[in-house]
Symmetry: C2
């Protein structure tokens, strides 16, 4: 049985969980708070980051969210999420990197820092200037996803791919933390409603981060 080390608001773990859900791979959640830098966890992953997956019966250890996604894409045929021509696969991977690097740096990371880490770890008040800037960046990013979805039903083209799962993972974390203004982003909102209603998404929507309540519309699939 796979074990997945994560915490509920980790966007990289969410991307992996959505992929596992779509592929029908069973796993057990292990709660890990990377900021605690637990010795046994650092021994397992020197980078100190989640997600990490282990299967002790088969002596397997998977580290890094993209390496994990590629592993399951290679080993489980069901619901291919990096498929199509080599050029299409390159575009899928470009978009995943875009959400995991650019969207994360501009939006997800500052939101997590201000509204989660400061509350749970350092216990200082959030910086409203940083929050405003991150929320302005979220608007720019949703303008871009609107543009991507203008001509296609899914982020990278005509099929649901890992790019959609990566985008939804980040957007869901930011939405939980109240960082998304859905006004004027109808294409992205429609796409997100479709993803939220998928069985793979349900476990994420019902989970809560200790001491941090989501926005009221967070788990409403019709919002």
């Amino acid at each position: 049985m796979w074990q997945l080390y994560q915490f509920p608001l980790c966007p990289f773990s969410r991307k992996v969980r959505l992929l596992l859900g779509e592929k029908g791979v069973g796993y057990e959640l292990v709660r890990e708070s990377p900021w605690a830098r637990r010795d046994e966890f650092i021994d397992m992953n020197p980078a100190g980051q989640v997600p990490v997956m282990t299967d002790q019966t088969r002596n397997l250890l998977l580290i890094d969210s993209m390496a994990i996604c590629e592993y399951f894409e290679e080993t489980i045929d069901k619901s291919a999420m990096i498929s199509g021509s080599a050029a299409y696969r390159a575009e899928i991977r470009r978009q995943v990197a875009w959400f995991d690097a650019q969207f994360f740096a501009d939006v997800t990371a500052p939101l997590l820092h201000e509204r989660m880490e400061k509350r749970l770890v350092t216990r200082v008040a959030p910086d409203s200037k940083v929050l405003r800037e991150a929320m302005r960046a979220a608007v720019r990013h949703l303008d871009y996803t609107d543009y991507l979805l203008d001509h296609n039903n899914w982020m990278a083209g005509s099929t649901m791919t890992l790019a959609d799962l990566a985008a939804a993972a980040h957007i869901s974390v930011v939405d939980y933390l109240g960082g998304i203004d859905w006004k004027n982003h109808e294409q992205t909102a429609r796409w997100y409603r479709g993803l939220k209603s998928r069985p793979s998404f349900r476990p994420l929507l019902s989970e809560r981060m200790d001491g941090i309540q989501p926005t009221s519309h967070y788990d409403d699939v019709d919002f």
Copy 2:
């Protein structure tokens, strides 16, 4: 003909160039300074980063160094660099992510910022405290690569893989900028000498970044 947008000290472009060299893929270099944020380049890649590859005759555009590597790994059989079992491939990708994220953040990025960007762009003196910290981090990272090479000839195991190319790309940039103290790192030094003597490495060693001289041993394959 492929065109590769890059600048000589970009570690991510170097990783791609090493892969293309090993696979025997021809390309033309296009010099791009991402910090200039040239409009036409941003239109091509909204992330504003190199490497980017284009093949205009086939209307192909590849963005993100890992997406580019996976593309050539999928389309060119020669010199497979992400090969072996699914678990081994996951370990290769974990290590690539380690060098491109951890090693980059701790060592390559601060060295590039202090010794290249400050010289070429902002024209202020480097911060010696930041440099010292980055060079201390380089020692810790080379302790780790020594450990990886203690039991194997190559970073991920018994074969040369993309993990070696990623590691060598970062180490070569940092070595150019005088950030590597080779003392007490005999395993990594031996491995690096082997890589430096490969034909794929030669073009990198002969190139210079405008106005920045490399350390005297930089292109000495016997050092």
